[in-house]
Each structure stands twice: as C-alpha cells, then as structure tokens.
Assembly symmetry: C2
Homo-oligomer: 349 residues x 2
C-alpha cells in the first residue's frame, strides 16, 4: 500500500504539513453537517479551503450526493493538481474517495476519519463507494487516499454506541492477527476510555488491515479474511433493518464474530476458551440480538445473497485459532442454524 497512515494528536499541524508540501492549486474539504459544525473549526489550516457539505448518514451516500460533490469541485475550479480532504465518518470518506478518484480521472485525497469505525475500517484500505439501487457500495472503485490522519481527539463527541461499533472491527482485526492482540483488545475498558492507549490499539488494528490489504488490494482472495464476522453480521443488520429496528453496524458484527467463532469451533477446533471470552465481552458490551428461531430462514436467505457469496451458498471466513484464518468456507444451512442457537444461548436470549 502506498497509503500513508499518520497517527497523531495534532491533526491541524499534521494536515498543514501535508498541504504545504503538496503544491496543490486548490484545496477542497468535504464535510457533513455534523463535522462542519464540530470538527472543521478545529482545523484552521483549512480556513481558505472550498467547503463542500453533504447531509450526514449512510442514506445520503448516494448518487445525488456524488453529483453534488463533483459539481462543487468543478465550481471550485479543481484540476488534477487539486486536493480533496474528507473529514467525517465512513459515509464521508467512502463518498469523498469515490468523488476524488473519478474527478478528471483521479485527484489526490486525504481522509480524516472522525469516528472510530471509519478510523479502523472505511478510511484505510482504498475501498470507496456509494449505495445504488438499495445495494450498499454498489458503485465504487478501489482508490487509496494519499494520506489518512488518525486521531482519537474527535472521539469525545461520539456516543458510546458509536465507539463500541468501531471497536467490534478492532476485535475482528485482533482475531485475524494473534491471540495476544485479541486478549489485549478484550482487556480494554470500553466504559472508561484511555485515549492514548486507544490510539495505540488503533495503530496495531490498522496495521493488521494494511498487511492484509497490501497482499490483495482488489479483493481477489486473501482480503476476504476481513469479512470475518460479516456474513452473519450483515444478515443480522439486514434483519434488524427489515424489522424497522436498525442496529449499529458494529453491534451486528460483534454478534457475527461470536457466531462465526462458534462455527470455527465446531468445524476447525477454534479454542472454546477464546470463544467464551469473546462471547462474554460481546454480551457485556453489546447486549443480545433480537433473534428467535423463527428468523433463521430469513437470516440464511440474507447470507446466501451476500455480495461475497456465489452460487447461493453461505461463504464465511473461519479461524483455526486467533491469527490462523481460512477464507471461502462454505457453511451448510443446518450448521448455521446450530451456530445461531448457540449464539442465542451465549447471549442469553
């Protein structure tokens, strides 16, 4: 990956250095209504930048917003030597990355994630996209930000739910990396956050993602490892959405990680001790999903139609142990149902 990821507490100075060194003929900043109000005032180096604002939320990560960004970049007189700075959560970095990557066949962009989820997931690794036709990230490209500036200094305005949502992706990375990292993550107190410690945990989390992405930037194979927890997680997320009671992405992923660890235990001998430690942490921090056995068929149908599946089979990344994963495992529906039973048991449903 030729993407530079910088970890710091002084975002303005870091960003200013990059801009000064870049010789850009125009600088634009993409914000949503929230980051415009809360974050932009903390970045005085952007005071002369052209501001492009979009409505917050994944619902607005759509074609209309993309065209709006293109239009305002055009109005700002952007050329190939201009820079777009994306300041926000995953919706902003996904949309802004796509807008920059497609404007005049690609201009430079910098991501400044303002949520934990964006810092450890959306903002690094080069995936950009918008939703289209009701499908998430249906339109997009792989395009690396020139730089990503990761800081915990914006997180104090995040609701605890948002922080936990991002933390689930960090647990996933730790499980893909090693038991040591896994334990380190589960030892951290989410109720009383030490920001310096969190920044260090984020650094090793992003490192895990970078190591995998570097080996397979366009998701031909290995990168699917990052799908751990997501086959079940996405299905739980879709079910909750369908019932009009949406859950944060990371909560669904946390339950997905437990379920897929159960399947890993059943089929590959993933250690039961680690499974129980994970289940306890998820139960204590994320509560339980609203699932009964009446929902199993619908959940399995979601899994069979997941973007990562092919031929209508359920495709999961599984673990022999933390740090030892295998991609492209086909899971029989009955095995999945048993795992969902055990998930509900472990979560006390």
């Amino acid at each position: 990956m030729t993407q530079q990821v910088l970890y710091c507490n002084n975002v303005d100075a870091t960003l200013n250095n990059i801009i000064e060194g870049g010789n850009y003929n125009a600088v634009m900043v993409l914000v949503d209504t929230n980051t415009h109000k809360l974050v932009l005032p903390k970045l005085p180096c952007l005071r002369r930048a052209h501001i492009i604002e979009i409505t917050p939320g994944d619902d607005n990560k759509n074609l209309d917003s993309l065209v709006h960004v293109w239009q305002l970049m055009h109005n700002a007189g952007a050329t190939r030597k201009s820079l777009l700075v994306n300041v926000g959560g995953g919706s902003v970095t996904d949309l802004g990355g796509l807008a920059a990557a497609t404007f005049k066949r690609g201009i430079a962009f910098i991501n400044i994630p303002t949520t934990l989820l964006a810092a450890v997931d959306a903002a690094v690794g080069g995936k950009t996209g918008i939703n289209f036709n009701g499908l998430k990230n249906e339109i997009g490209v792989f395009a690396l930000a020139t730089s990503v500036i990761v800081s915990t200094c914006f997180f104090h305005t995040l609701p605890p739910k948002e922080l936990k949502s991002g933390y689930a992706e960090m647990i996933k990375h730790a499980m893909l990396r090693s038991q040591k990292h896994f334990f380190e993550l589960l030892d951290f107190d989410l109720g009383k956050i030490d920001k310096n410690k969190l920044l260090e945990l984020i650094r090793s989390s992003v490192k895990t993602k970078e190591d995998i992405v570097n080996q397979d930037p366009t998701e031909q194979g290995l990168r699917k490892a990052l799908n751990l927890g997501h086959t079940v997680g996405h299905a739980l997320e879709s079910l909750a959405m369908e019932h009009g009671k949406p859950v944060p992405h990371g909560y669904a992923i946390a339950w997905g990680l437990v379920t897929e660890a159960v399947i890993s235990h059943m089929t590959l001998g993933f250690p039961s001790d680690d499974l129980y430690i994970l289940a306890r942490f998820v139960h204590d921090n994320y509560g339980a999903p609203a699932v009964t056995c009446d929902h199993y068929d619908r959940l399995i149908s979601f899994m069979q139609h997941d973007k990562k599946s092919s031929n209508g089979e359920i495709n999961c990344t599984l673990l022999k142990k933390c740090g030892d994963f295998t991609i492209d495992n086909t899971i029989p529906p009955d095995t999945m149902k048993t795992a969902l039973d055990i998930l509900r048991d472990l979560m006390g449903v």
Copy 2:
C-alpha cells in the same frame, strides 16, 4: 500495461475464446443503436449476452447514460465475476469502461472498437470517462480493459471522413516514434484502402501508444507526449463547434499536427522537409480549416484553458525530429500567432 491487445480478422472466434476461458457468471454487451444493428449480428458468440443499448454520439456520453448502464448491469444480476463487452466507437468504450470500472468496484471489460479512431486511441491505454458540465471526460478513471480486440473488418461501413479522422491519430503516433513510421504512414493511400496493410499500420501505431502509456499510465508526465497536435487541434475543434460548424476530431488534430510541427521547426529545428511532406498530406486529405486572423485571440484563449495547461499558459508537446519529443513546452502567444499564419499559408487558406 497488463492489457492484452489482439489483432485479428475473426473477432467472433477471438472473443469466444476469451469468454470461454474467463469463467464469467454473466456476460453483458454494451452497444449503441448503430453497432447493435450493424456489428452485433456478426458476433454470434454474444447471442445469449444481456444487451445494453445507448444512443450514439459523444453528446450521450453523459451521466444519464452511465446510470442507465449501471442499472441494466444490476438488472442482469452482474457480480464481480461478470464481464462487460463494449462494442462501438470511442463513446461506447469510454462510457462502458467507466461503467465497468465503477460497478462493484470494478468488473472485467473487453473493448471491441468499431471505428479506426477508437482502435488507435480511445479503446487502448485505460482512459475512461463521460462528459459532465459541458467538459469532455470530466468524470472518469484510469482502468485497463482486460482485452482489446482490434480488427479492420468493421471499418467498411465507416464514412471516409471517419477513417481519416482516426488516421490523424496514427500520424501523431508515427511522428512520436520515428521518421520511418512517419513516411510509412504518409505513403499509404487513404483513397483506396488495403485492409491488411492498414491492420499492420494500426498494430505499430497502438504499439507506440502502449510503449508510452506503460511508462506513465496515469499521465503524470511522459504520457503528455500523446497530446502532440492536440493543444491546437482542440482549440480548432472548439472554435468550429462555437461557429456551429463542427469538424471531425481527427481533422482538427491533423491541422494541429501541422501547426505544432511549424512551432517545432521554429523553436527546435524540426526538419522543414518533414514539415512540408506533412502539410501536403494534410492539405490533400483533410482540406483547410475555416480560420482567419480574426479568430487568433479566441483560439489562444481556448489553448490557455485547455485541460493540459496550467497557469493560463499554452502548453504543447514539440518535436526536435520525428521520434524525439519534449513535453511541457510553453508557447508565447505571438509564436502561436505566427505558426497559425504559416498553417493557413500551408493549407492555402
């Protein structure tokens, strides 16, 4: 470049081989109304492909058409393992390339150029795009087709003007390559085309482009060599458009090549013999541009606002001799006016 360019007379068999070997779960073909009627019947290997049709012409290389293609790919159930075959001129390959490169972050596509201009220019080298806000190719990405199938077998339905238009880009490539190729091109009889000979000339023309693109795929520097003739050519094209009397792209490029050869002679000693041979060929095959000295200021304004210019200066690729080029030359307006005087003289205006 990892792009495979195949030269053949049996396009259907060649395409069929690629499709059979590719294990695609869906094949779609993008055509315009013309290639749907005239070319698709000659490609029986596509008889079960999902057909996506757009309206012909550069005017329709726009966002509406792009969304239409995305929508029909979605309706066809396209996944990352699907294939889009673009059959048409530059508008089709530019639009189809962008649609494929942005669908689910990129699916495979094959270009089958049906015009000489697309064969030697648009379909190879990875530039894709649509027009936006009145600007050509304002939105796009660099994305290589998996394969490009080049054949002269579709050209018999092309009007002579279309053929000549493409041929101007071939002359440009020859001038960038060597005097030998330059002479070879100008010796060819455009009035009475030998198709086998033409296919060989196309092959060496595309080779020249590939060699340059390989060294600089995203146009950071060297690739600007391919802009030879285009600073003046685009200005002449824009002027003609503004006067309501549009000229084919390649005609404007042919006159641009003469003008920029004049400047090359004035400033870098490009041989006058080669200049006169070029001027004669262009005069005989492309006629003269409708330009008087009253248009010079407008032409210069177009050149100063060209996509490749920066800081409002006129930027040209120039030649010391055929095969020896320099990029990023700044041309003073007075020099340009003198060169336009000489162009008019050479073309007998």
